[in-house]
Symmetry: none
Subunit: 403 residues, 2 copies
């Protein structure tokens, strides 16, 4: 019934030579340590962002809905202009993206946890004593040898007791329960499918677990595994389809490369540092219409609860902006996928600072880039999924709606 912003993008997109850069500081928004104090962003010295704010328009972005704290998946889908309530990324899919596994349309991705069971098959430790990563990796190699007729099996380590399992085969559904019972003293649950295709997946899961039990029987404490977040990747239209944009992603961390790949962006060689990323941007400048540049450390320092480190990382992010501006993009968007206040040591629901700069901006009198300036900004408070339509408009890439 209702027309989503995405449908409008499909309908109205047009092409030109403009360049759009989306520069994302993960977990950008923050909180002051005390009422009346300054946030991390307000504390940081950010001359480049402040200057850009003076010629741009500010606002606050709500990643999902008021009060809803997003994970990285919904947070980025929102930024990319996809309604994060319509497109749901399962845990298994996100884990697979996080280890650079290139998921195909016939793949079911699963997050696995090594666990410990006793002689009666009851779970005694849901994380197998948090085994070291190298032990986990060796066990994954063993599990990767398991053969199941009719499907390809991939088993890859993530970290410590965590792993990813992918089953590749025709007609597999993604609606299967977790086998982790969420407590010890009982056996893992049987996998069951919610429809015929998922029942097929569930049978494969149960068969895999049976074989894993044999393979791991001498490997205590990690003598079994549980399966969680069993899912297929969402059927999602690409950036090229939605916006007509040839798009490149420049992200150091695999999960963000994976999320970009999910919407059809080309994943470029980002290197390891922000300087590497900016070098990559410059080298690829002529090849793409749109660039997604992801900076991780404003989130990780926030999650660590380290206010000062987040301030410093924000300044590093600011320095990167100068190199983007040197390339003279038509539109620059600066924002985050969600807030990560160091006070909370976690993602939060607080709206995220947003800056859009282009020749066609309506000047809003902002003097700098901060939560308090953004609160008064000309874009108001908008859902993240509308950032891309504003960027497209600012790049003159949208036709008029209706006659």
């Amino acid at each position: 019934m209702t027309t989503d912003i995405q449908d409008l993008m499909f309908q109205l997109q047009k092409k030109n030579d403009s360049k759009i850069v989306m520069y994302i500081a993960d977990g950008l928004g923050g909180l002051p340590q005390e009422p009346g104090g300054k946030t991390e962003l307000e504390t940081a010295a950010t001359p480049n962002l402040d200057k850009l704010a003076q010629r741009g328009t500010l606002g606050l972005s709500t990643p999902v809905l008021p009060g809803i704290t997003p994970g990285s998946g919904p947070g980025h889908l929102g930024l990319f202009g996809y309604d994060p309530l319509t497109f749901n990324i399962g845990r298994g899919v996100l884990e697979a993206l996080g280890i650079d596994f290139d998921l195909g349309p016939n793949d079911v991705a699963i997050r696995g946890n090594f666990c410990t069971i006793d002689n009666d098959g009851k779970i005694t430790d849901r994380r197998a004593g948090r085994i070291a990563s190298d032990i986990g990796a060796k066990l994954c190699e063993k599990l990767d040898q398991i053969e199941i007729p009719g499907v390809e099996v991939f088993v890859k380590p993530v970290k410590e007791y965590r792993l990813v399992i992918v089953f590749r085969g025709e007609g597999l559904g993604g609606h299967v329960n977790d086998t982790d019972p969420q407590r010890t003293g009982i056996p893992p649950l049987k996998a069951e499918g919610k429809d015929a295709a998922s029942e097929k997946t569930a049978e494969i899961c149960n068969l895999f677990i049976e074989k894993a039990r044999e393979v791991l029987k001498e490997d205590a404490p990690a003598n079994l595994l549980t399966l969680r977040g069993i899912a297929k990747k969402p059927d999602i239209p690409t950036y090229e389809e939605v916006y007509g944009l040839k798009s490149g992603a420049i992200a150091v961390y695999p999960m963000y490369r994976g999320l970009a790949r999910l919407v059809g962006m080309d994943v470029l060689d980002a290197g390891q540092t922000i300087d590497d990323q900016m070098k990559c941007l410059k080298e690829n400048w002529d090849k793409f219409d749109f660039f997604f540049i992801h900076f991780k450390y404003t989130d990780s320092t926030g999650e660590d609860g380290n206010f000062d480190a987040k301030v410093k990382r924000t300044e590093e992010f600011d320095a990167g902006l100068a190199k983007i501006e040197a390339l003279n993009p038509t539109v620059i968007i600066v924002s985050g996928d969600h807030s990560t206040p160091s006070k909370m040591k976690a993602h939060s629901w607080h709206p995220v600072p947003l800056l859009l700069a282009a020749d066609r901006c309506r000047f809003d009198g902002s003097t700098g880039f901060s939560e308090s300036e953004c609160r008064k900004g000309g874009l108001g408070q908008i859902q993240a999924k509308y950032i891309m339509s504003l960027a497209m408009a600012s790049a003159d890439r949208l036709e008029k709606y209706g006659a």
Copy 2:
């Protein structure tokens, strides 16, 4: 396809020991008497609200949609986090709630109006000369004796010519037209049902009217009645289901108790004054996670068009806040169900001042609680249905959405 905020609350709720207090001044928002003047709230001395605003976050709440003036039902459903366009409370149901009638799932509730008909059965006065309440009450006693096979019949006076009729029985539908033709000179309309179950209700309505005609034939001017707002109570998920909150309502007026009961709150003994209400809050503090406290007089003075009285009542409301704060709730929400500007002597569509105070608020530099401060507040302008998700987040009662 898209998920409503309520579905997210179902999915993401988690429990802890936090306490949330929603402190509602009915009809809180106002208008200045002259352009450039102050509203009732801006005129009132509200030291407690102002202090809370300094450590909280302000905003404006739109009860339904811009320009839409809500009745008490939709106004409160919005505050409670239920989309007032999805959940519709029929007039009959609201009238029944307003006289503390405890409606069950098999009840059809009807608002009745005594009217006057002539010898040809044509209506000559749709309100029977606005008969006095004690006369209306006596007539209701007579009507309450009417017996209809297969259903229980309840007839209760409201005020003057207004009454409530409830039919209790299996399989009764709630989709029946009003029998009030909205003008004089013609007979009342026949009741007709829109589906089989409602047709059954319509037959009962017509039979009841026939018997009422006999019972009231000597009681001119009130010698018949019309039926309006024939409805069943909406099938509405409870606060416990949606939020996992054990909730108590502290309201002096029956309609607000009824609305709270409709969403599954426990109705507490509120007494008659704001002091009684605060005493009730303190006594029940340990028994509930969430309290809804309703203050009526900011609305009734507004409806009276008495600016000064509304100012005074606002100050009384402010004084009550100190007693809430003394209990140290995790989250305090202060707002109204709609605006009632005394200049308009009526409910209005103007957005309602909103204050949310909790440790995890993002400071927005507010200096006091008023329409003009709220307009600049950090929550922006939001629909009322998002207040509860913000409160839940601020109380750390929501899981992250998506991985």
